[in-house]
Amino acid sequence: MSNTPATLVEKIIARAAGVEAVSPGEIVTCQVDLAMILDSGGPRRIWPRLKELGVGVWDPEKIVVVADHFVPATDPAAAAILKLTREFVAAYDIAHFYDMQGICHVVLPEHGHLKPGMFCCGGDSHSTNAGAYGCYMAGFGAIEMTGVLVTGEIWTVVPETIRVDWSGSFGTGVAAKDVMLLLARELGMDNAFKAIEYGGDTVRGLPMAERVVLTNMAAELGAETALIEPDEVTLAAIRAAGAEPAADALTWRSDPQARYQARHQFDAAALQPQVAAPHKPSNSGPAADFERDHIRVDQAYIGACVGAKLSDLHMVAEVLRGRQVARGTRLMVAPASNRIMAEAAADGTLATITAAGGLLLSTGCGACAALGAGILAEDEVCISSTNRNFQGRMGANSSSVYLGSPYTVAASAVAGRIVDPRNLL
């Protein structure tokens, strides 16, 4: 390895490009360790192109296919897309297929696919999620994933790294989601061709389910990817998923003298619950300010890769225990994976949610991208634990989506309007 100090993303890209060292701005071609495609922009777009090219896939062992966007099928068109996805997997002998098991970004680590130092490509913008496991993973469109499936390679511009450190402990009712709603405002959504590296004692103290919120929503910052240096928490999660990290797993870290384009330091203890107003995640501010505006909500939605993990459902149950969802407001909960659904059933979390009047939906991307159950009508207002709130994101063009943590969404469901969750905890 080179003697020039390097950041984690630079080390992974250099390894994948087969060179000693890389510098920001350089364009390199990387060998891909794992390629993930989905029902939405996957086989339906890629298979016709493979046929047109007259070639097969480069390595069926390194390809993961997940059916999560159109599940379960709600009409014949969705059913046809899912059927085609299954036929593709059989035709190309794809080794890893997760059909209606949950959302791809949650399913990948659940099944031990992510390890420090890997270079991965995914056909979905929130593929940055995987960086919490110390690997490079970025999102690409279907046409580019076709290229990856054929060649096993991808070009990238080596990104500049921005280091974001958090220190201290979160107060009551504050979660990783609040960090990201604040960062979308502070760092903006225009960080293309940059990598975000998160650190500090706050981040090291977070469980994996909260760390992935930071890397997942790097997509909202517009970043190429985001990473967290692996530690014992990372390795324990990999082992719990039935995989074994490599002996050198903990060596995948930035060098102490590595050059960052910028460094930011934040105080976790000062962080308040945040809400992002329509129609973008950077439109955020303290939940308490929104509470003063008396914003009535038709729907409260707990779902998506970022906001319906077991820890998220625990936050919801903590708020709902002994309370009821307000009349005139509907609470819908779509757990992020079947495994999470089973765990939340076993520990009583689902019972707490349904006792409060919450409606359980199937696992999958669902209403987050206006693909499944829970879509909004014209002029309706929703508060959601999902990651983006662009106009029309969850349904009709005139609907409005506010973003908040699972605590904030659950508390708003109880109040029937947007509130700061700390009054209910």
């Binding site: 969705a78 913008s125 469109g141 293309a192 061709f193 879509i375 662009f390 994101r393 349904g395």
Partner: protein, 170 residues
Amino acid sequence: MSVINGRVWKFGDEINTDVMAPGIYFKLPIEEAIKHCLEAVDPTFAPGVQPGDVVVAGRNFGVGSAREQAAMGFSGLQVGAILAVSFARIFYRNVLNLGVPALILPEAGEIAPGDQVRVDPVAGRVENLTQDKTYAVEPLPPHLMEMINAGGLMPYLKTRIAGEATHDSR
């Protein structure tokens, strides 16, 4: 690559992929889905845009999802080029892969809707014929120009695969 000469459709900052390709139209065949491109922002765009017209936008054009349909709106409607103050990463890669030149133009705000512009992506020049102004833009890097000159990623892959087959047979 030929020079593009077209009429300007102007958009603002942070135009996202959900308005370029709304999720509610995902299951439609692509030629149907692209008729809804940007309808929430400018309902006259998809019905009115002519082949070779030029899209001019502000910061972070294409922010959001990896959905290729967002970029296919512009390739499918035969937009000649996209000029923006900055592009979101995945969208930028998608439009280039589909063979639509995307150029960074910090002065995009000076261009008005309906202006006639002439874009030369190889020379890195944008001429506003209506306002009689000329801008120098960063040409695309050679590895991307090679792909765009081939017509996008698919023709480029075909050439590459054909080259490997020739190589293997030797």
